[in-house]
């Protein structure tokens, strides 16, 4: 187990290094530069003054070495070019928890409700509840989240005045964004859960259990449930990493100060320190999440052995 984690961590570090390098050169090669928005209207020689100030007049490889040296020796993602005077670390520290709060709550509902609905549909195959859930799932997956957001904002927020229309601060502000965030996820988890439950139900060991006289409820609990969770575990890993990234659309529609807005704005501004810092942050989360998923596989399904090397 220890060796497995060590090995995976080493791979993870190499992956990170490659991601940083690739991102750095890609963002440098992208058209436009971080000060374009600032200097848009300036005459050429005035632009040069600003470029020199942010070190953008130096060749790319040189900037790469400076950046890497800083990153490795201090762990500092550097100062944002756009948000002057603020380090990327600060921005992550201030805003990632907000995205994460919404994301974790939404993820909780996604998994619990999704798994529940998926099971119900599968166990009642071709009955009304199955059809109802399947149609709802298709609808929830197809309708984009901004449409849900607009509808909920209009009816629940504006017409009925139950929740605020937008903004951030109190408990009530969570309701609409979490609902919009969760709805698509609930649907996809339900869809996967239904399919995997159905396939597990046809496995020999389930038939054996039933033939032995094992009661239906017990078969479901002991034999079907755990085994059908594999696809859900696979999906959960990236989802956990994703909650910190937030959902740009939801944050925008509800004016939530999460990290998603910063990320998208950083890319469109080519604010390279921000893009790099955030990419590294997400990459680290992703690598950790994947290692966790590998460990979880073993827990859910003991047939999957993680410690092959041992």
């Amino acid at each position: 187990m220890g060796r497995f984690i060590l090995k995976r961590t080493a791979y993870g570090l190499i992956t990170l290094f490659l991601i940083i390098t690739a991102t750095f050169f890609l963002i440098s090669a992208a058209p436009g530069d971080p000060i374009a928005a600032k200097v848009e209207v300036m005459p050429e020689r005035a632009q040069e003054v600003i470029r020199a100030k942010y070190g953008l007049d130096q060749p790319t490889y040189q900037r790469y070495f400076i950046y890497m040296k800083n990153l490795i020796t201090t762990g500092d993602f550097g100062e944002s070019v756009i948000y002057t005077g603020r380090s990327v670390n600060d921005i992550i520290r201030d805003n990632a928890p907000i995205s994460a709060k919404i994301g974790i709550i939404a993820l909780f509902f996604q998994i619990t409700l999704g798994v529940l609905l998926g099971m119900i549909a599968a166990l009642n195959r071709d009955k009304f509840s199955d059809h109802f859930i399947r149609v709802s799932v298709v609808l929830a997956i197809c309708v984009p989240s901004f449409v849900f957001a607009a509808l909920l904002q209009y009816f629940i927020g504006f017409k009925w005045g139950i929740t605020p229309i937008f903004g951030w601060g109190s408990f009530k502000h969570y309701i609409l964004p979490v609902a919009v965030y969760a709805i698509g996820g609930i649907a996809s988890y339900a869809k996967f859960m239904r399919n995997s439950t159905l396939s597990v139900m046809n496995e020999d060991y389930v038939l054996t259990a039933r033939a032995k006289g094992c009661r239906r409820a017990r078969t479901v609990r002991k034999h079907i449930f755990r085994n059908s969770l594999i696809p859900i575990v696979t999906m959960t890993g990236p989802a956990i990493a994703g909650i910190f990234a937030g959902s740009f659309i939801i944050e925008r529609l509800f004016s939530i100060p999460g990290l998603g807005q910063y990320y998208v704005k950083a890319v469109s501004d080519t604010d390279y320190t921000m893009v790099l810092g955030l990419t590294i942050f997400f990459a680290i989360l992703y690598v950790i999440a994947l290692i966790l998923v590998d460990i979880l596989y073993g827990v859910v399904d003991p047939r999957i052995k993680i410690a092959k090397g041992e």
């Binding site: 003054v49 002057t84 005077g85 100060p257």
Partner: protein, 574 residues
């Protein structure tokens, strides 16, 4: 798909509005009456709080570095410079004393002396002095600081550009000096009559704190010193900022609001809902369906329409094989119907432009278009002269030795953005030029920064451009095509030769001419070269519609002067 969804949302919004609209819609009132009533009664509510929203967050509080539109809008409230341009009720503007209680201008118009008022204080109680302004300008002239507005003073203040571009002068050498604590003197290169307008570009910082906080200056509300009528109480970057009345402000007695809240709402439809729900007090609506929603509310809101001073235009690359010929350029410039454009594409919320100057630009205190008796509507005159732009185009093609068949031309139009609007307006132009000139252009959809890059490299045929001038003088718009120092210099516009040289001469002549009528005439001559030879083709300038809650009184602004929050008061809010 997008369209269907948009309709769906609109449909939902409208149906809701119909239900929400009760039978009291008989009152037809444009809001002005109720304004008068409010003024007669002059009842002031107990709670003096005004809430507005912006579609983007304030980036930072360092006035030297953070100069995006949301930044400027906020700095206008928390930082005060020497003078302040305010809108009056008739749509004009006046220059009011601010930190400076008065100012003298030398006979030749090149030396400005400002007298700083005794009771001007920073919010921590330290007096605002002449040295603060000297320090601010010196920092701006320092290339290491990288101030984004610094270039505005290049060629205006003596030695400023020389220091900024490290050409033998130091920031200490610039023509800004403190005579004593209360008097600051600016020495200009030329008698620029719009100099007072430029002062807004340099909001003050204070030496002790600027040095103490270094790069952190302005990164949070605890790292800035303020001297405006309001100061920041709390700031949650992408959510809201709360400002409270600055009790140390020199004119605090005349500031009526206790609190100003600035919310961030990115989606226009959410902002409209927020206004209807009473969560904010003002909204700028652009979409016709949003305007309709507001109009249905009758006298709950006042409507303010303002012509924006930022013209939109197409720029032709005069180095292009076709567009080096003025006849071909002009044919394109004359070959579309501007009235129709405004109606089809902008739902009438714009003024078509036949001149580069929006009708709100002035020379001195008089409107430019009045001074030149409408002669600036060059496109209109040319359209009368050349009734068949296609014939003009063919003439040009023959002159350049091309196939006279316009359909064989290959011309690319670079868009400024990839939004639905960019797409629709470009396709509209394609249609018009096909009908009127027989040319089928190729539309290159691209993001705005990529378009500017292409323009920078001269790699374009026609570019989609727009410009908001920094001050209310035709020079603010004409100078962008200055062949040497303009944003669209010769390298970008491809404009060289006798016309370009003459254009430069005219601008320089105008800047040395104190007589306003003469100056207006020189601007007209310059415009005749720029627009009259089709280097650019002005299209339109927007008309903004703002809806203000009726209880928010004295909310006054126009395109030259932003809202003066000192004057607003709340009266009759339920």
């Amino acid at each position: 798909m997008k369209k269907i969804i948009a309709f769906l949302i609109i449909g939902v919004l409208l149906s809701g509005a119909l239900i929400g609209c009760k039978s009291d819609t008989t009152i037809v009132d444009n809001g002005e009456e109720s304004l008068e009533q409010g003024e007669i009664e002059m009842k002031i509510d107990k709670e003096q709080k005004f809430v507005f929203s912006d579609n983007s967050a304030v980036i930072g509080l360092n006035p030297l570095l953070n100069t995006t539109a949301p930044d400027n809008g906020l700095h206008d409230i928390i930082l005060e410079t020497l003078v302040r341009r305010v809108a009056d009720e008739d749509g004009g503007t006046i220059m009011e004393p601010a930190v400076a209680e008065r100012w003298d201008i030398s006979q030749d118009g090149t030396v400005y002396t400002f007298f700083i008022r005794e009771n001007a204080l920073w919010h921590d109680g330290v007096p605002v002095t002449a040295h603060d302004f000297v320090y601010t300008y010196q920092q701006m002239a320092n290339p290491k600081v990288g101030s984004t507005n610094a270039w505005l003073f290049d060629g205006i203040i003596v030695n400023f550009g020389e220091a900024l571009y490290d050409k033998g002068k130091k920031p200490e050498d610039i023509g800004v000096r403190a005579i004593d604590d209360r008097r600051v003197e600016f020495t200009l290169v030329k008698p620029y009559s719009y100099f007072l307008d430029l002062l807004n570009g340099a909001r003050p910082v204070r030496q002790d704190k600027f040095e103490e906080w270094g790069s952190e200056y302005g990164s949070s509300m605890n790292h800035v010193v303020m001297n405006g009528p309001f100061i920041i109480e709390s700031w949650d970057q992408n959510v809201q900022m709360t400002l409270v009345k600055n009790e140390k402000y020199w004119d605090a007695d005349n500031v009526k609001l206790d609190k100003v809240v600035r919310k961030v709402i990115t989606e226009p439809q959410v902002a409209v809902q927020a206004l209807l729900a009473g969560e904010i007090d003002v909204v700028r609506a652009r979409e016709p369906e949003h305007k309709m929603l507001m109009e249905r509310e009758g006298n709950r809101f006042r409507t303010i329409e303002t012509i924006v001073r930022a013209p939109e235009f197409y720029g032709f690359n005069a180095q292009n094989k076709y567009f080096k010929n003025p006849k071909i350029r002009l044919a394109f410039s004359l070959g579309f119907d501007r009235e129709k454009y405004v109606n089809d594409i902008i739902d009438g919320a714009a003024v078509p432009l036949y001149s580069l100057m929006p009708p709100v630009m002035s020379v001195g205190e008089t409107l430019y278009t009045n001074m030149v008796k409408g002669e600036n509507e060059i496109i209109k005159h040319l359209q009368k002269q050349y009734t068949d732009p296609k014939a003009l185009l063919i003439e040009g093609l023959i002159e350049e030795g091309f196939d006279p068949d316009p359909s064989k031309m290959e011309v690319r139009l670079a868009t400024r953005g990839t939004s639905e609007f960019s797409k629709r307006s470009s396709e509209w132009m394609l249609q018009q030029w096909r009908e009127n000139l027989g040319v089928t252009i190729i539309i290159d959809m691209m993001e705005w920064n990529i378009m500017w890059d292409r323009v920078g490299e001269g790699d374009y045929d026609i570019s989609t451009a727009g410009w908001g001038p920094y001050y209310n003088d035709p020079n603010g718009l004409l100078s962008i095509y200055h062949p040497e120092i303009g944003y669209f210099d010769s390298a970008k516009s491809g404009w060289v030769g006798p016309d370009a040289d003459r254009f430069k001469e005219l601008l320089e002549l105008a800047s040395n001419t104190p007589d306003l009528d003469e100056r207006a005439q020189l601007y007209l001559d310059a415009e005749k070269l720029l627009v009259g030879t089709g280097i650019i083709s002005p299209t339109y300038t927007r008309v903004d519609t703002t809806y203000v809650a009726d209880y928010a009184k004295d909310y006054i602004f126009n395109t030259h002067a932003s809202v003066d929050y000192r004057k607003i008061y709340i009266s009759g809010k339920k």
